[in-house]
Each structure stands twice: as C-alpha cells, then as structure tokens.
C-alpha cells in the first residue's frame, strides 16, 4: 500500500517532536542513568547523578523542559518504499513546525546568524533546522526523528585527518585526548560519538550519528563494535565523572560509526552528546502516526 505523506501532518509532527524531545528523555537514557548510579563509587558523583535523575522526574511532573538549552534543531528523515512525499514541501513543513513550537510553547530561540549574531526568535535560520534525508527499505513508512542538540556538548566536536601510519592506535589516542579536552564542559555523563573513515565531512557526520544513537545499540560494522567496548572502558577509567567533578561515570557509552576511506587517509571525528540525550520520533504509516523515541 502506498503511503501518502501530508505536509500539514509533518508540520504538526515537527512541532510536537521538538517540544516532546525537550521534555521527556528516552527510556534507554533513563536506564543508562540507573546503570551508572548503581556502579558509581564516588559520593559527589552519586549526588550529581541523583539530582539528574530527580530532574527527569521534575520535568515530567511539571511538564517542563529538561534543560534550558533548546539546542540546534536537527531532523533526520528516513523514507521507506512506496512513499509519496513532496520533498521541498516536507522541508518547508519541518521549518514551520520549529517556528511554531518556538512561538506557541514558547521556547528559547537559541539560533543566531553566524556573522551578525542576530537572533530572530524563530529557532531557525539559514540551513537551520538541519534536515538530513535518507532512504531505506521499510515498506510504506516515513520516519521523522528530532534531535535538539545541546551546544555545550556540540562544542565538544573534533576532527583529525590522521594518516595511515598513525594506525588504529592514533584513533584510540585521539578519542582519549578529546574526552580529556572536553572534561566537564560537555555535561558528562555523555555518549561519545566517534566517526572513523569516510571524507572529512562524512567522518564528522558519522560521529554525530554515533553520538545520537540509542544506548544499547551497536555499530553495524563488527570492527567498529569491537572498538566501542574498548574505548568505553578506557574513557571511564579516567575518573572525569559527572560534570567533570570526578567519578566513574564519565560516559554512558562510546558509540562508533564507520565508513570506507581512501588509501592515504585515516580520518577520525568525535562528537559528544550530553546527559540530556534528547530524541523524539514520529513514524508515519498508512494506519497513522506513531510517536516514540
């Protein structure tokens, strides 16, 4: 059955997802907090984790935003088979949804022009919201994922065009150096996203995909998956801890995404997601729209 996607429904979903993502953390992140809390040995770190867990409950109880940072709005659209959608209308609808969420809730507009620094109070601007469009084989399905990416952790973004002679050791060393440079500034406990391979821009994009993947998911490349566990152990042995104030809970996880690269290249990128690892999704099918994470 063909799925026809109405731009008006996309606008409503884009608005709803932005507000929902800012208020309700996904279950995998809540479980991540429970796991870290159980394993944390430092008393200050345990107090901080307990406050973060309390905040999740306060946000839900008071129907409020988890964090003051409304982030840079990112929408990931995955279009399945037999889907009829006007692409230009879809992009315009997402932008209108962001503007309406900002005005109608209201939300803080965190978006400014990069040169004039002018904030037009709409949470939008040139090429923002960021919209990524991809395709898969899911029958009659369009998936819209919203990520309000917090700036404290986004400023913890790093790219290094390593060379083949630097090897895998160079990649591991770079990740550890980035986590140390980021320290408490990126609001640990974090998800450390690592991109390996590709071109410079693809490598950075992969790091973002990795940082915003659900906890418990694994890298689709078995070589990348091996690296994830190893790096997570190393990162959490540094003792940086929640908020950079010491402890065992520096990262919920390290996620890796890979792409093939050139014989002369060995690029590695790091993008960090803060503990307010917010996401929301709407899945459009012929039977309706399902809201989830």
């Amino acid at each position: 059955m063909k799925l026809h996607v109405d731009p008006q429904a996309v606008e409503e979903a884009a608005k709803l997802l932005y507000i929902r993502a800012l208020k309700v953390l996904p279950d995998d992140i809540k479980q991540g907090f429970t796991r870290l809390d159980a394993g944390e040995g430092d008393s200050t770190a345990r107090t901080i984790l307990a406050t973060m867990i309390e905040n999740i409950a306060v946000a839900e109880r008071t129907d409020n935003l988890l964090c003051q940072d409304t982030g840079i709005p990112i929408y990931n659209v995955v279009i399945g088979c037999d889907v009829e959608v006007d692409g230009a209308a879809l992009k315009a609808a997402i932008r209108r949804g962001v503007e309406r969420a900002t005005r109608e809730h209201p939300l803080r507009s965190s978006i400014v022009h990069p040169i004039t620094r002018k904030n037009d109070q709409s949470s939008t601007g040139r090429l923002v919201p960021v919209i990524n469009i991809d395709f898969d084989e899911a029958p009659s399905t369009l998936r819209l994922e919203m990520i309000p990416k917090g700036s404290g952790s986004e400023n913890g973004s790093f790219l290094r065009m390593l060379i083949p002679a630097d090897g895998l050791d160079g990649i591991k060393r770079f990740v550890i150096d980035c986590v140390m440079q980021a320290g408490g500034k990126v609001c640990p406990p974090t998800i450390v996203g690592v991109g390996v391979g590709g071109t410079s821009d693809l490598c950075m994009h992969l790091a973002k995909v990795a940082a915003t993947r659900p906890l418990g998911s694994a890298c689709p490349d078995p070589e990348g998956e091996k690296l994830e566990k190893m790096l997570a152990g190393a990162v959490n042995s540094l003792g940086i801890g929640p908020q950079g104030l010491g402890g065992d809970s520096t990262a919920f996880a390290v996620h890796v995404e890979t792409a093939a690269t050139h014989i002369t290249m060995n690029p590695v990128a790091v993008n960090i997601q803060c503990h307010s690892a917010r996401r929301a999704t709407a899945t459009f099918t012929p039977t309706g729209i399902e809201i989830g994470f």
Binding site: N55, L65, Q68, D69, N119, G152, K185, L231, G244
Partner: protein
C-alpha cells in the same frame, strides 16, 4: 566541608571563607548573564544600571514567556525554564565582572580557567558549580524575574531573578587557589597512560 546560607549580597570575608568542597545555598537576588551580554558590556562598552556589588551571577539564557507587567511579573516575563550553560566560554569576563561591578560569585557548569582562578584570589571570589542539564529542578528555585536590562540581546539579556533556596551549589573553585576541576584533570592525566595501555596502544 561546611554549608553556607548566603543572603545576597555578601562580603569579601564571607566569600574568602569558602573552601572547595563546601556547599552554598543562595537567598534573595541572583543575576543571569551570558556570552552576548558580556561581549556587549566589556567589548562594546555598554553599561548596566544594575548594582551587582557583592552579588552572584549565573551563566544562563533562560526560556521565558512575555506577560503583561504585574506584581507577579514585574519585568513582563514569566520563567519557563532556567538553568545554566558551559562557563569556559566566558572565562575572559570574570575579572572585569569582579573589578568593574563587584561581582563575588560566579555560578555555572564545567568550571573556569586560570585567569578566573587568579581573579578569585586577587579580588575575593569563588565559582559555584550547579548541575548542567537539570534546569527543570533549578527553575523551581526561582520565584520571579524582577527586572531585565540589555533586553535587545534576549535571551542573552541581563536578568535579575528573585530566588528562594537556590542550591545547594558546590564550591568548585575558591579564593585560595583550590579547583575541583584541576584536581580531577590532573588525576585523569595520571591515568591516561594506563587507559591507553589497556587498549593495547604502544607508548
């Protein structure tokens, strides 16, 4: 590890009594300040009429809702969600804030650097860590937005909040050269070689 209840403003002696590891709860007044606020104040020569002598500032840019001016909303704004941001970006403004406006306490997340540490020692100041990303909770400690200045920079205006039991906050940098962040990062440097070796990285 003492706890201090501060009714703002405070004296130099009160702030110099703070030691890393102590906790502080603030009462009365708190100012909200951000990147653009300080860029305009210290790079573009703009001034505020607020008296911040002996006061605390929090690195913030809140979510607010415009309201008709009333006793409940004296500045014409209701608080929606007020938290903190990464302090490190505002490192170079700590000293002028203290020297020119007499600010004594800076609240934020992630810590400040060496220049701020020196300003705290020279002038009598401290950095209080609030937990980033827990703004829903922190909003409940703010009773009103009393006044706003430099509001063309909204949301990066200069805000004056009325607060009730704002804390506990952790003294993470004091006027005696103590810094929790330095201690943690020094220890991390010491653990780095072992972390790399555990992954089979050759030294």
């Amino acid at each position: 590890m003492a706890h201090h209840d501060f009714h703002m403003p405070v004296s130099e002696a009160q702030v110099r009594a703070l030691k890393v590891g102590d906790t502080v709860t603030l009462h009365g007044t708190l100012f909200g300040i951000r990147d653009a606020t300080q860029i305009h104040m210290f790079d573009h020569g703009r001034k505020t009429h607020f008296d911040m002598k002996g006061h605390a500032v929090i690195h913030t840019a809140p979510n607010v809702k415009k309201m008709p001016v009333s006793n409940e909303y004296p500045a014409g704004y209701a608080s929606i969600c007020i938290g903190t941001t990464t302090s490190a970006r505002m490192e170079r403004f700590s000293r002028p804030l203290m020297e020119q406006y007499g600010v004594r306490l800076i609240i934020g997340k992630g810590g400040l650097g060496r220049e701020s540490q020196k300003a705290f020692a020279d002038l009598g100041g401290a950095y209080l860590a609030i937990i980033g990303g827990t703004a829903a909770l922190e909003t409940t400690w703010i009773t009103a937005i009393e006044e706003v200045d430099l509001d063309d920079l909204n949301p990066e205006s200069l805000w004056r909040f009325a607060i009730k039991g704002f804390g506990p906050l952790l003294v993470a940098m004091d006027s005696h050269g103590g810094s929790s962040y330095d201690r943690v990062m020094k220890a991390a440097e010491g653990r780095k070689a072992a972390a790399l070796a555990a992954m089979g990285v050759k030294a």
